[in-house]
Symmetry: C2
């Protein structure tokens, strides 16, 4: 049962209740097959300015793009397991071969700012579910095609809003 | 089994591993009976500057002090249930009678900045476990004895570090 404060597009149409049931919040793959993303607490609809909290579920084999950002990011693994790929900034022209870390249920890690990284559900048996905390929304993200793409060629996406159709919908309404 | 990077006092003595098992992190009641606090990701030992993440468990009847702060705070309820007491800022001289909200497993809420609030495990049957995300550590907290204490009389605690004995221990070592 979806909350009555969410319209058919998954966008907020009026104030959210203060206490929200996470299982009733809108979820979407935002065009990334195998991903389920829920904005648990966000800037666009919950009015936060300093932090955002996301709940993301990756089906087996699903991964984030290789990317970097200057905000802080903390992960708490709620279910499943997988691999964190992280290329420490060696002041090279490209990320280079990443280090691999096993991540598992009830583990936590934070991403050093500006280090290129990727989360990958490398467990073929079960979903990987993580809570993601980021600072200073919206995220300014640089996306790499592969680990040898030069930093200067990484594609900038800013502002990075998950629910940008909602932003559009909100703007449209404002103009009416 | 405690991680080898944690000494007997529960303080870090050298670098934490990047991926940490939350169940192996030091936990303490920090002098508050019925509370278990774990700093999942923090400023003092994990080097974060913009967010902190805590895992807190309240036994039945256990509660936070009535308090306010200007940082953002998001709660995700992992287990149990309880009550959020929140006194919206009415520009009065004291918080006044708070509103009550039921909180429950898989619910989320964020505290409007500077509103006095209290989390209380009002469920006599089970523990209340929450993940707490705060911005701009360390927290500058104002603590109230009761809901009718004037804002100007609230007791300031700043910086509010859970693991301040560790801070002290670290400073002592620096001086050696
Ligand atoms: Zn990231
Ligand atoms: Zn608080």
């Amino acid at each position: 049962v979806l909350s009555t404060s969410v319209d058919a597009s998954g966008c907020s149409i009026k104030g959210f209740p203060l206490v929200r049931n996470i299982s009733e919040l809108p979820q979407d793959d935002y065009g990334r097959k195998g991903l389920s993303h829920i904005t648990v607490a966000g800037s666009l609809f919950h009015g936060l300015k300093e932090v955002e909290v996301w709940l993301q579920t990756f089906s087996p084999g699903t991964r984030t793009p290789i990317h970097r950002h200057s905000c802080e990011e903390v992960f708490v693994v709620l279910k499943g397991s997988g691999t964190l790929y992280l290329a420490p900034d060696m002041h090279r022209k490209y990320p280079g071969t990443p280090q691999e870390y096993s991540i598992f249920s009830n583990s936590t890690f934070s991403i050093p700012i500006n280090d290129a990284h990727q989360i990958w559900n490398t467990n073929q048996q079960e979903d990987l579910q993580v809570l993601v905390i980021i600072s200073r929304p919206p995220v300014k993200v640089f996306i790499y095609e592969d680990w040898s793409m030069p930093h200067t060629a990484a594609r900038l996406k800013y502002p990075y809003y998950w629910d940008e159709e909602c932003l559009q919908a909100t703007s449209d309404k404002d103009e009416l």
